[in-house]
């Protein structure tokens, strides 16, 4: 007997090879795409679901990207703006790896410090480094100037990043 369709249940086709980022914070899917440098113009096949019903968090976004596997630094960046996200790596229609994103205690190389007087914004070879003070709500502290940054400070930089919102 065919399973009865539930109107609130999500219907998205499976992907053969690539990454499914599930439990993205509701409304953050486009930012996740921007962060990964996916504009669509490069030909990436990606499917977004936004504000769908989630048992865990009420509402969530889902991002499916075909033929793309995420780097460690990219996963850390997703953790910054969506700490509950899970990453599913798909090969031949099967989930071969599934894990929760996790912010390390120290984040290196991203984002830019919001303090214009911080030495990391000068022309120095040193990269940005932050201590994670709190994951949800996000609070990170610059190792150099001690400035605190929250999720909004990170998101603002991401949307400026690729210029899509211009």
């Amino acid at each position: 007997m065919a399973k009865k369709s539930n109107s609130s249940e999500l219907k998205v086709s499976k992907i053969k090879e690539g990454t499914v980022i599930d439990h993205v914070d509701a409304g953050m899917a486009l930012i996740v795409l921007e962060m990964l440098g996916i504009t669509g113009r490069e030909g990436t096949v990606a499917t977004l679901s936004m504000n769908v019903v989630s048992k865990k968090t009420g509402r969530k976004d889902i991002v499916k990207i075909e033929n793309r596997f995420l780097e460690y630094t990219e996963i850390n960046q997703i953790a910054l703006i969506s700490p509950n996200a899970t990453i599913n790596e798909i090969k031949n229609f099967t989930v071969v790896k599934k894990f929760d994103v996790q912010l390390p205690e120290v984040i290196v190389g991203f984002p830019k410090c919001i303090n214009p007087r911080c030495i990391t914004n000068a022309r120095e070879p040193q990269v940005q480094t932050y201590y994670v003070k709190s994951v949800d709500p996000l609070k990170i502290r610059c190792k150099y100037c001690n400035t605190n940054m929250d999720k909004n400070d990170v998101v603002k930089q991401l949307t400026k990043y690729s210029g899509i919102t211009k």
């Binding site: 303090n115 007087r117 911080c118 030495i119 120095e124 070879p125 040193q126 610059c142 100037c145 605190n148």
Partner: protein, 312 residues
């Protein structure tokens, strides 16, 4: 931690120092007066580079005097315009050059976090002499050393910090360093526009420090064991009328101090403008010039500990 653990160590932030570290530094500072009076030269042959990329009088002279007292020598960049930073050299390159000329570097730089970056690149220890509006650890050390000398202990004491609490880096560093001691009560006295930053208040709350924010200096004077005055910086006010309203609220006079518990010490990082009237200078309250002398002792202690000078 022991005396030996300071060998080769950089002093970048007050937050890097433990309570035990502070005890070692102050114990060493107590011995430095003897060095000044004697002909001992524990740092003979050692060179301090004073790299001041932002104007400074007291801090630089005090570091230099400290090194001279210890028998070492000093090379200095005192005018930022004469440094290669003007030619566009990065701080990391400057540090990797200067480290070849000296055994230790005292640095002041306008950008925040500069001393930490310098310490990461340098082969020789770095002493932070002020990095932007963020940190000034040797000032905080000499402030605390002065308080300890005057009050014997700061535990259980109430201390008023008065003036520009928002931008004054000496206030931030001193509040942090005091949070390492038990039962210190702080009174932050400032106009609403110059209140201490929320980030620092959060850190103090986490450290379990009791503090109160007030606007009236005269109300606080009878309650405290020490007063730390700072200059209200006119240039920080968006409107001059705002400045005019508060500038005289924080003038500490001999008459106001008659309401104090007793001969409570009054400190000031200097320079002062009019926030402490001259009639206080001759009273027992005035320790701000003694504070400058203590600054030399504390900086001597740091140099001697870090460069491994013998003290017998």
């Amino acid at each position: 931690m022991s005396r030996k653990s300071f060998l080769g160590k950089s002093i970048v932030s007050i937050k890097d120092l433990t309570r035990e570290d502070l005890d070692i530094i102050f114990e060493e500072a107590d011995k430095m007066e003897q060095i000044i009076k004697s002909n001992k030269k524990p740092l003979d042959g050692k060179i301090l580079a004073a790299l001041f990329m932002e104007p400074s009088t007291r801090t630089r002279l005090s570091f230099e005097a400290a090194m001279h007292h210890l028998g070492g020598s000093v090379i200095t960049v005192s005018d930022p315009k004469s440094s290669s930073a003007v030619k566009g050299e990065s701080l990391s390159d400057t540090i990797r050059t200067v480290e070849n000329y000296c055994d230790i570097i005292a640095i002041r730089h306008p950008l925040e976090g500069s001393a930490r970056l310098a310490a990461e690149f340098s082969r020789v220890p770095i002493l932070n002499g002020g990095s932007g509006a963020e940190e000034h650890p040797t000032q905080a050390l000499l402030d605390l050393y002065t308080l300890l000398k005057e009050l014997k202990t700061v535990e259980g004491k109430s201390i008023a910090m008065v003036g520009d609490l928002k931008y004054g880096r000496t206030i931030h560093s001193l509040a942090y360093i005091l949070s390492k001691y038990n039962a210190v009560k702080l009174y932050f006295v400032s106009p609403p526009s110059l209140r201490i930053k929320a980030e620092i208040k959060n850190d103090l709350k986490e450290a379990g420090i009791e503090f109160h924010e007030v606007e009236s200096l005269s109300e606080v004077i009878p309650l405290v064991d020490a007063i730390y005055m700072t200059r209200i910086q006119k240039e920080r006010f968006p409107q001059e009328a705002e400045y005019e309203k508060v500038k005289d609220a924080y003038v500490l006079t001999k008459e106001l101090l008659t309401f104090a518990k007793g001969p409570i010490p009054v400190l000031h990082p200097l320079p002062r403008v009019n926030e402490i009237s001259y009639d206080v200078d001759d009273t027992k309250h005035a320790v701000y010039f003694k504070q400058m002398y203590n600054g030399v002792l504390v900086r001597m202690a740091l140099l001697n500990l870090i460069l491994g000078g013998e003290v017998k």
